[in-house]
């Protein structure tokens, strides 16, 4: 009887270890960003302290997303410094006016409608409330993509158990719901889906 329990426990243990360590590695494919980019440098060195100096809202409130190369060209028309990233930026993106194929950590699927304007202007949220310390980043982290759903890992969050997550780590529907619920904002499906 003890032997049975032992072998049972052995199998169980193996499964637990594999499921919590190997599985996450296998589930996500790691992809590097096309460029080295530091928010920190831009806020400290070039005084772009406001997020919306690069991530602005359009005339009708639509979020413009990551700044296009023409914005970068404002300062980087010619190489600033000698870093490899700088060379890549100028030569392969700014000069040929090609948009940088950034991998967007917080990209939501096509069926999600998220209005920055409503959350910043009406709800008065700060960028940090959702994007955490992204604005002070001094390196680009690897983008992890779910092999099955194709979502960025940031949507589920980095902890598999979804416990103890920092702001911006985890942007699932349930996270939207929780926040709306906390601030008793009543939105139906159309509030976030398109």
């Amino acid at each position: 009887m003890r032997r049975i329990l032992l072998i049972f426990g052995l199998g169980m243990g193996l499964a637990l270890v594999a499921g919590w360590t190997a599985f996450p590695r296998a589930l996500y494919v790691r992809r590097e960003q096309p460029l080295e980019f530091h928010h920190k440098t831009h806020s400290e060195k070039s005084g772009l302290t406001q997020c919306d100096s690069c991530h602005a809202l359009g005339s009708d409130g639509e979020f413009q997303g990551i700044a296009g190369v023409e914005t970068c060209a404002g300062c980087h028309a010619e190489k600033v410094g000698t870093s490899k990233a700088e060379a890549t930026l100028v030569d392969s993106y700014i000069k040929p006016a090609r948009e940088t194929p950034w991998l967007v950590y917080s990209r939501q699927p096509a069926n999600v409608w998220f209005s920055h304007a409503i959350h910043t202007h009406r709800a008065g949220l700060a960028c940090q409330d959702c994007h955490g310390t992204l604005g002070e980043s001094d390196q680009v982290r690897t983008y992890e993509q779910n092999r099955i759903s194709g979502y960025s890992r940031d949507i589920w969050g980095h902890s598999m158990s979804r416990l103890g997550r920092a702001p911006g780590d985890g942007m699932k529907m349930s996270d939207c719901e929780d926040c709306h619920h906390r601030h008793n904002v009543e939105v139906g499906c159309l509030g976030c889906h398109k």
Binding site: L10, G13, A15, G19, W20, L27, G65, I148
Partner: protein, 556 residues
């Protein structure tokens, strides 16, 4: 200790139990469902901001104003422009999917000769050679455009002939042109002032002329009322959309329109319902009744109705002289609410029936209907954005598609007022694309460039100091400070509209009642739609619903 099969089973059971306590089954379950919500083979709409542009539709002569939503330099939606003076905010059903046309499977992206791929260079040499060997014809379906004047210039310089294929709407005006000597392109219908409109099977509520113009008028003054301000009498064998919505529907026998016209004319004259006497038709009322299958009473009643609520205008689907003669009899020619002559004359060398004489080479503009057949011994250079099917022996030259070409839009055929608009090239065409004008300009660089002609036209309008420019706000030309500014306005989607005509400036002399007894053929609902193909979404109208008949010879 050695493992037995039994141990393996137990271990496996343990593993299963353990797995249930890991994210594996649950995360997989969730991710697989998410996968079903974003199947990788399903197209994703573009990211990025959307901007709105204003322009004018060039898919038919109607000149409707359009509002185009652009995302990442491609159009993602087309809508009408409210208070547009020409189209009154309306569009035909097909226009709402027009932005998809440029990706139609039938889109031409390469030069083809005798069904095989060829190059522009070859086409050019072939054309130049042909021009050298004999007379050339250039066929246009929309006279009066900047492009047209490029055509004319070319034909003038290279002893060619500029030919025009008239739309059904224009053809319907040819009899008056014949009787009065006023060019067809200078004539129009003053519908806005008419109080009775008698249509001989013309789909006036279903895409005739500029779709929005009459439908809006009708919905404001006629729709639903038992005794409307504007009476629409539809004379048509079958209960068409227009007939179903008309104030009165007169069902008559196929092809007996001319006979009915004669019958009505006789009644009008015999019962002195019209002031000025006119030529009496030979056929008797009884004959008319017999041919049309209507009671003589019905014909008398129809004549009564026509004069009851004036001004009245009769609209024919084509150049049927008997029907046109009714307008003369009713005094609707050159009178308010009838057939009127526009202020200035658009260049008037327009021949109604194309290709008299024989030609060595025939260049066919992309506006010419696909069905148009050039004389068969000539070498044909056919410009088209979409392949209408059938095997052409000649040259098939890929022309700009929707919103891919800078061109101008002169007065639509049925309009009583002069208008002028400019369609910008909002979309970059595929690499191999060239318009007929560009083609000719490469052969003869001395020709005027389309851009320059448009520029000149704007100058001209600016100098006449008349009319109004309808942009964000209507602005009288007198209030505009420069021709350049006017052109900018037009390029931003504004439209210039001339002042109302001073009527009575022309009349028609009718010696005798037209003997011609040909049947009037009503046109199909999409006849004026120039491309030989439909936007794929048109399937909603006739494949995915029973709303309409699939139009012949067109593919969605």
């Amino acid at each position: 200790m050695k493992f037995s099969r039994r141990d393996l089973l137990i271990g496996g059971a343990g593993a299963l139990a353990g797995l249930a306590l890991t994210p594996v089954p649950w995360k997989l379950l969730s991710d697989v469902s998410i996968w079903t919500q974003n199947f990788p083979w399903i197209p994703q709409p573009a990211h990025g901001p959307v901007e709105t542009k204003y322009s004018v539709c060039t898919l038919c002569e109607g000149g409707c104003g359009i509002r185009v939503r652009m995302a990442t330099k491609y159009p993602v939606g087309v809508a009408g422009v409210r208070d547009h003076p020409v189209s009154k905010g309306a569009l035909c059903p097909l226009a709402f999917a027009a932005h998809q046309l440029n990706w139609h499977p039938r889109r031409l992206r390469e030069v083809r000769h005798a069904g095989r791929t060829a190059s522009w260079a070859e086409a050019q040499t072939a054309f130049v050679k042909a021009c050298g060997e004999g007379p050339t014809a250039i066929v246009d379906a929309r006279p009066g455009r900047a492009v047209s004047s490029v055509f004319e210039a070319f034909t003038r310089k290279h002893r060619g002939s500029y030919q025009v294929v008239l739309s059904a709407e224009s053809q319907a005006l040819t009899p008056y042109a014949g009787w009065s000597g006023v060019p067809v392109t200078s004539l129009g219908y003053d519908l806005e002032n008419a109080r009775t409109i008698v249509s001989f099977g013309v789909p006036v509520l279903d895409g005739w002329g500029t779709p929005g113009r009459f439908t809006r008028l009708w919905s404001e003054r006629a729709a639903g009322a038992a005794d409307p301000q504007l009476r629409l009498i539809q004379i048509e064998p079958s209960l068409s959309r227009t007939a179903a919505r008309a104030w009165r529907w007169v069902p008559l026998r196929e092809g007996s329109e001319a006979a009915l016209a004669a019958g009505v004319a006789r009644t009008l004259l015999e019962e002195h319902l019209v002031g000025a006497p006119g030529p009496m038709p030979r056929s008797t009322l009884a004959e008319a009744a017999a041919q049309t299958g209507l009671a003589t009473e019905a014909i008398r009643d129809l004549a009564q109705r026509m004069v009851e609520n004036r001004p009245v205008v009769v609209i024919a689907p084509d150049g049927n002289p008997a029907i046109a003669a009714l307008n003369v009899l009713l005094g609707a020619v050159g009178a308010p609410g009838g057939i009127v002559r526009k202020r200035g004359d658009v260049p008037s060398h327009v021949s109604a029936d194309p290709l008299p004489g024989s030609f060595r080479a025939v260049l066919v503009d992309s506006t010419v209907p696909w069905e148009f057949a050039a004389q068969n011994d000539a070498e044909v250079f056919r410009f088209a954005a979409w392949d209408g099917g059938g095997d052409s022996a000649g040259w098939l030259l890929p022309a700009p598609g929707f919103l891919e070409e800078l061109t101008d839009v002169p007065t639509p055929p049925t309009s009583a007022l002069e208008t002028y608009a400019v369609a910008q090239n909002l979309v970059a065409p595929p690499t191999e694309i060239r318009s007929a004008a560009q083609f000719l300009l490469q052969i003869d660089p001395t020709l005027p460039a389309v851009e320059k002609v448009i520029h000149a036209r704007c100058d001209e309008i600016f100098r006449t100091r008349q009319g109004t420019v309808y942009g964000e706000h209507p602005l009288a030309v007198t209030k505009i400070y420069s021709a350049k500014h006017l052109e900018e306005q037009l390029r931003k989607g504004a439209v210039w509209m001339g002042d109302p005509p001073s009527p009575g400036k022309f009349r028609c002399e009718l010696k005798e009642w037209p003997a011609d007894n040909r049947a009037a053929n009503a046109t199909c609902w999409a006849a004026s739609w120039a491309p030989p193909v439909f936007p794929p979404l048109a399937t909603k109208l006739y494949q995915e619903s029973n709303l309409r008949e699939p139009p012949a010879g067109r593919q969605a």
